[in-house]
């Protein structure tokens, strides 16, 4: 029987692991989404980005709270407003033994725009680089056209690959329009086949798409050695079977256990559940254009009036949504960047549940009897997305704004949102950079997609004053000054309810009792961070 035999084995293995980490055994992880490739520059997506960090190092690391820490770059500083200098770590070797130098970094920067058929390219992180200087083998100097404070953050997303993996014809010279001295780059398939060495803590052993991805320890790793000799990732996208695989002991650790199972998993004395705030905010966007809007059958758009938007925010009981729908896997939000992240404004509290004031504001705005509105939402993208939208619809209906929910699968929802078919929609935003400029730029800046501003602002919100402050923040290199400007931008958005934040999602992980994991804001599942429990 299972408890007789494997129970004892696990116990012994656990004791050994605690007593002597060097003897630690293998780790099996159940993933909710499989990476589409191991090429670190192919597809900018959470499962891919989390996976490549096992094999490839970046110049800079993001810790569990997305704060930056040294990796292949041992230090960095801004020499002036448009120049960044990175000192590289010495003595690092790639998996094939080749030493790491600045040449590899330049080669990597050259490759990023050259990945064929990339579904979501990493060029958004490298395009600010105008020119590159390499004073010596271990110094990198980057020049930008305008002040660009996010340079270190952006570089932390780029995995460094060795120059030896390409076909070189001479010394590499970085040119924005196309580098010189490089004839060919490794193909995405080469990464999947394990042909491109990295410098990270693990080596690729086997990648069978849809079934398993096996990594083995890199014995020559320059940094802190991981506890695991072998790590096997199994993609199990369905929630029930993923939980079952953990219960059955087929995997030791799973990401994203479904919220309805968490209470049961927490009670199981053989298991451990950890959760932490993510960088994702769930919000409702309200079309604030001064023009008729498709979801409301009125000649004038009531949402253009900030009082109406405030009323709709006050009408929502965020705490009830957290307790009843989210199984407490969320934290009510009063702004669009999570607590603890760079730029978060501690003065902005979630709007209280106050239907009385809401009704008063509606009456003041000239809608004492309310109006009818359609709230769009995806039904398979965020935690309990449709249920949250249904709850919001009921709260709005209670103050007289009769609300219909229009829920569709994510692929249809996002296309319709792009065509501006919704007057109000529920969606989420993960701050990829881990700081406030990401949601501010995309969600609430005036829509100018050609400049990369307001790219996801499908609600026509535009506050020129906020845009001005944000622009200033984006050009301020000094961290303290920039954070203050970002906080001011958030306050300006909150002042006229440019967007209605609902909550920040908490990300859960479940594992055997013998393991621990520090929850990550970026929702990454990283084997190096999974450790035996003390």
């Amino acid at each position: 029987m299972r408890y007789g035999l494997t129970g004892t084995t696990a116990l012994v293995a656990g004791l050994l692991a605690v007593a002597n980490p060097a003897l630690a055994a293998d780790l099996k992880i159940g993933l909710s989404a499989e990476p589409s490739a191991l090429d670190p520059h192919y597809h900018n997506l959470v499962p891919n980005n989390a996976m490549f960090t096992h094999i490839y190092d970046s110049l800079i690391d993001q810790d569990a709270n997305q704060r930056l820490s040294p990796s292949l770059a041992s230090s960095w500083k801004a020499l002036n407003d448009t120049t960044w200098e990175f000192k590289l770590r010495k003595g690092v070797k790639f998996h094939d033994g080749a030493p790491f130098t600045v040449k590899d970094v330049v080669f990597t920067l050259c490759r990023v725009p050259k990945v064929p058929n990339s579904p979501s390219a990493f060029t958004i992180y490298t395009k600010s680089i105008e020119s590159v200087e390499t004073p010596d083998d271990y110094t990198l100097v980057l020049h930008t056209a305008k002040p660009y404070p996010l340079m270190p953050t952006d570089l932390s997303t780029i995995g460094i690959i060795p120059a030896g993996s390409g076909k070189l014809t001479g010394p590499i010279v970085f040119k924005k329009a196309g580098c010189e001295g490089i004839e060919g780059y490794p193909a995405t398939e080469d990464f999947n086949a394990g042909k491109v060495p990295g410098s990270g803590p693990f080596l690729l052993k086997e990648f069978v798409k849809g079934d398993r991805l096996v990594l083995t320890e890199n014995p020559a790793y320059w940094g802190k050695k991981p506890v695991w000799d072998t790590v096997t990732f199994k993609p199990i996208p369905s929630d029930g079977p993923r939980v079952a695989a953990l219960l059955a002991g087929d995997v030791d650790f799973i990401e994203n256990p479904p919220s309805q199972d968490l209470a049961k998993l927490r009670k199981d004395k053989n298991l451990r559940v950890v959760d932490g705030l993510s960088n994702r905010v769930i919000y409702v966007a309200l079309d604030s254009a001064d023009a008729p809007t498709p979801g409301i059958k009125l000649p004038k758009n009531p949402l253009h009036d900030a009082r109406v938007r405030k009323a709709l925010s006050l009408a929502i009981d965020r705490k009830a949504i957290k307790d009843r729908i989210m199984s407490t896997q969320s934290e009510p939000a009063g702004q669009i960047i999570s607590t603890g992240l760079f730029g978060n404004n501690p003065a902005l509290k979630p709007d209280p549940y106050d239907p009385k004031t809401a009704k008063k504001l509606l009456a003041e705005a000239g809608y004492p009897k309310g109006f009818e509105i359609t709230l769009g939402t995806p039904n398979d993208r965020y935690m309990n997305d449709e249920k949250v939208a249904q709850a919001i619809a009921q709260y709005w209906t209670r103050i007289g704004v009769k609300t219909n929910v229009d829920a569709t699968t994510k692929s249809v929802f996002f296309s319709r949102r792009g065509k501006k078919e919704f007057s109000a929609f529920l969606a989420g935003w993960g701050a990829g950079t881990g700081e406030a400029s990401s949601p501010l730029k995309s969600l609430v800046a005036c829509r100018k997609p050609e400049l990369g501003m307001g790219t996801t602002n499908y609600a026509n919100y535009c506050n020129p004053k906020m845009d001005e402050v944000l622009k200033q923040a984006l050009a301020t290199i000094d961290d303290a000054k920039r954070e203050a400007l970002l906080q001011e931008s958030l306050a300006l958005v909150a002042a006229d309810t440019g967007i209605v934040p609902i909550h920040f999602e908490k990300t859960p992980w479940a594992m055997k009792k013998s393991l621990t994991y520090v929850p990550r804001v970026d929702q990454y599942t990283i084997a190096m961070e999974i450790k035996p429990a003390k």
Partner: protein, 323 residues
């Protein structure tokens, strides 16, 4: 000969019509770029991605490009994996085929003996019991049964693994799992799950066949000759009642592969069903189109073969067609 050409043309017409329907249908759902690209990308980046995927061209031009590729056996390149869609499907096909064959084998090995017993003892508790169980097999949803199998055999008893395919070895150039202990252990639960519905079908068919054959003169004659009952059943009865079972199972094989979608999802079996589901979720259009086109071609080919066999067996069909 005219008949063959006629049928061939019909088959080609079906493929052509389906190509248009599938292409237009799939291209009407959503916009893959919205699903794929990082939401932080600016307009230039979005436009570049759209152009890379050829989605900036008008629909008819995209269709022509697709047709041109299809004529060379290239049904497009996956948006997500950047690999030819046909290769992705063929890579995973052995896993599904192995699962389907294992399920059919289980259905035959369990279904036929139970069906014969139920047919021989239709009024006794054994016969009635078997029939009652077969109703369960028909009516329980595959998804639920799969989860139950995992709960019982993987979670509570801990006998079998709950997920994945286990170790594979190369057999005739194809990766198979039934030749390794780990692979076999991984194969059991999903195969049983997939076999459940077919087993019930086989039980019903064999029972009906048995009841029909048992009343025939040659059975009575064999018994009158004094042959042992075991020989009567194993030779005379089994041989004759197998014909409808084999016919139906042959026809049902395609649907086993189709039903595998649910089982593959529950057991994370890396076959084409799981690939199809994830491609639909991520709007990986080329893979969806390639999968549907390959399925259409498979069924057209089977129908064509069946038509030819019918014509060979029954001359009247040929004459009617040419008249």
């Amino acid at each position: 000969m005219g008949y063959v050409i006629n049928r061939l043309l019909q088959g080609l017409t079906v493929i052509a019509v389906m190509a248009v329907l599938v292409f237009v249908g799939v291209y009407a759902i959503g916009n893959p770029v919205d699903m794929l690209i990082s939401p932080e990308a600016d307009q230039a980046e979005i436009d570049a991605t759209i152009a890379r995927m050829g989605l900036d061209k008008p629909l008819w031009l995209q269709f022509l490009v697709f047709l041109k590729g299809a004529a060379h056996g290239d049904l497009g390149t996956s948006f997500i994996y950047n690999e030819p869609a046909v290769r992705l499907i063929l890579e995973r096909f052995p896993a599904t085929l192995e699962l389907a064959l294992a399920a059919i084998l289980i259905a035959v090995l369990i279904g036929i003996p139970l069906g014969v017993i139920a047919g021989l003892k239709p009024e006794q508790p054994t016969g009635r019991g078997i029939m009652a169980v077969s109703i369960l097999g028909f009516s329980l949803p595959t998804f639920w049964v799969g989860m139950m199998l995992i709960m019982i055999f993987a979670v509570w008893l801990g006998w079998l693994p709950s997920t994945g395919r286990g170790d594979t070895v190369s057999f005739l150039g194809i990766q198979v799992s039934f030749l390794t202990v780990s692979g076999l252990r991984h194969l059991i639960l999903p195969a049983v799950n997939l076999a459940l519905f077919k087993t019930s079908l086989v039980i019903r068919l064999s029972r009906a066949g048995t009841r029909e054959v048992i009343g025939q003169d040659y059975i009575k004659f064999a018994r009158a000759k004094g042959l042992p009952e075991s020989r009567v059943i194993l030779v005379h009865l089994l041989k004759n009642m197998m014909i409808p079972v084999v016919t139906v199972l042959g026809l049902e094989f395609g649907s086993v592969v189709a039903f595998a979608v649910v089982t593959e999802t529950v057991f994370s079996w890396p076959g084409i069903g799981k690939l199809l589901i994830s491609s639909i979720v991520h709007l990986d259009r080329p893979v969806i189109v390639a999968y549907l086109m390959l399925t259409v071609m498979l069924f057209v080919t089977i129908n064509f073969a069946v038509d030819l066999i019918y014509a060979a067996l029954d001359p009247r069909i040929r004459r009617k067609e040419s008249a």
